[in-house]
């Protein structure tokens, strides 16, 4: 059984005065910045329901986009199970090799020990109960799947136990329409933005994309690069809505000062600081994000670098080009940097190594083309992002 079970005798001691929680926490990220890691730390907290991280906002978007049937309990259950082939929800036999490979590459092969039968039973029961309280089918689904997951993991029947917890959900894509929708459905929305030194994040994202491309899982294209860059340049702005609290947690702080950072985070999320926060789990089962999974400690201060990253993916001139456009983030979030300080004029016709990589797919030919600065297609959008990012005045979120 999972560690975070609140039994009927102790739940009053750990929860706020409100009988039911109408708060939700969404985790945002702008690349490979530790969004799974932070969820794994919050996973076993007794006041939270952390739905498996592979079910992101993309799932909610797909319901709208493909008009998926969630009109009744059985249809909603089938839709949920079909989305990621039931991974991390108790299904043990999988037929979708693509999803299985994504799970492997994302290090999400965690046998969380949830029973498919238990999850289904609770889902179908809870759906009918939640539906009596809301006419919004998407909200009904989000609440039901969260409550059913927690009840199945912790082995309880009473939906009221689940209702007293805050729901935590991965909102990987910074989709403001969805964020706005969530803010309208819940009394309070915490937007927890995982931050990492921007160029380190970009390099990590590029390596991940190249790996996915090499393994035939997802194509690394100029469009993919464009998306990474625009997230990097333009996310992190404050959202002004009164019931939204938007703040950032630096991955580096989390590794270097875990206790202090998690205490601050718990305070901000209005949850108690709990020993479980120092343990990395999914569904209560140990998890590590480090390749090989053999690391003894999940906090690895030597692993994180926060200065300007000048390496094989972002050589000196590229770091300067991008650094100019990311300077406000480096400064506002107190990241060290030593950008050489180019001007817009001198780099106007400079192409980045990552732009060549998105086309060539291998380092050797990309480097050869980069050295010669061979003319390469740059989309109108990408050019606009580069130009606009230089002068973009951002009201950036606070970092804890």
């Amino acid at each position: 059984m999972r560690k975070n079970h609140i039994n009927q005798n102790t739940k009053r001691e750990t929860l706020n005065d409100n009988q039911y929680s109408s708060d939700i926490i969404l985790i945002l990220t702008y690349g490979r910045a530790g969004s799974y890691f932070i969820q794994s730390l919050l996973d076993s907290h007794p006041e939270l329901i952390c739905f498996p991280p592979m079910y992101t906002s993309a799932f909610i978007q797909e319901i709208d986009k493909k008009n998926l049937d969630i009109s009744n309990a059985n249809a909603a259950y089938d839709t949920l199970m079909a989305y990621n082939d039931g991974f991390m929800l108790g299904k043990t036999e999988h037929t979708n090799n693509h999803i299985a490979e994504m799970v492997r590459i994302s290090n999400l092969e965690v046998n969380i020990g949830i029973s498919l039968e238990a999850f289904k039973t609770k889902f179908l029961t809870f759906y009918e109960q939640v539906k009596k309280e809301t006419s919004d089918l998407k909200l009904c689904l989000v609440k039901t799947m969260s409550y059913a997951f927690d009840a199945a993991i912790n082995d309880y029947e009473d939906i009221d136990i689940a209702k007293q917890k805050k729901i935590l959900f991965q909102c990987h894509r910074v989709d403001y329409t969805l964020i706005n929708w969530f803010s309208e459905q819940f009394d309070h929305l915490d937007l927890l933005h995982m931050l990492r030194s921007p160029l380190t994040t970009l390099c990590s994202s590029m390596r991940y994309s190249l790996k996915l491309d090499k393994d035939g899982i997802a194509t690394f294209s100029t469009k993919v690069l464009e998306n990474y860059l625009k997230f990097l340049f333009f996310t992190g702005d404050v959202i002004a809505k009164p019931n939204i609290s938007h703040f950032g947690v630096r991955l580096e702080f989390l590794h270097q000062q875990p206790n202090l950072t998690l205490e601050k985070l718990a305070k901000r999320l209005n949850i108690s600081f709990h020993e479980n926060l120092l343990t990395s789990t999914f569904g209560g089962k140990d998890w590590t994000n480090f390749e090989g999974k053999e690391h003894l400690s999940l906090f690895n201060p030597d692993h994180v670098r926060e200065g300007t990253l000048i390496d094989d993916i972002t050589p000196y001139k590229d770091a300067a080009f991008l650094g100019l456009r990311l300077k406000s983030k480096y400064d506002h979030w107190h990241y060290q940097h030593d950008f050489p300080g180019p001007s817009r004029d001198t780099d106007a016709n400079h192409f980045l190594l990552v732009e060549y990589l998105a086309v060539c797919k291998d380092m050797q030919s990309a480097e050869a083309a980069y050295a010669k600065q061979q003319p390469i297609y740059r989309s109108r959008e990408m050019q606009f992002f580069f130009d606009y990012a230089c002068s973009h005045q951002q009201n950036l979120i606070e970092v804890l």
């Binding site: 403001y176 706005n180 340049f233 002004a240 809505k241 009164p242």
Partner: protein
């Protein structure tokens, strides 16, 4: 209070007005659009884009709230609006 105007009357205008907060909304003086289909949105006057030139850009900031933000940005610069006054609604940029 900073004098702001918006450009773009589509679905992203609604998202902008939902997210921007009441205090900010009170500072919005007008909404411009290339093909306005109504006279007011949330009590704010909707004006045709051609009236922008006549306004002598008498505002501190113009925020683009349309998915065609690159075209509109270029349109505004062509009309003579200082680039320093043009902002794109950040939700559009990370879309």
């Amino acid at each position: 209070m900073t004098k702001k105007v918006l450009f773009g009357c589509g679905t992203f205008l609604n998202l902008y007005l939902d997210l921007c907060g009441l205090a900010h909304k009170q500072g919005i003086k007008a909404i411009y659009d290339n093909t306005p289909k109504c006279e007011k949105v949330d009590g704010i006057d909707v004006l045709h884009a051609r009236e922008l030139a006549g306004s002598a850009f008498d505002f501190d900031e113009i925020i683009i709230t349309s998915r065609h933000y690159i075209d509109i940005y270029n349109q505004l610069v062509t009309l003579g609006c200082p680039e320093s006054k043009i902002t794109v609604f950040h939700a559009l940029l990370s879309w």
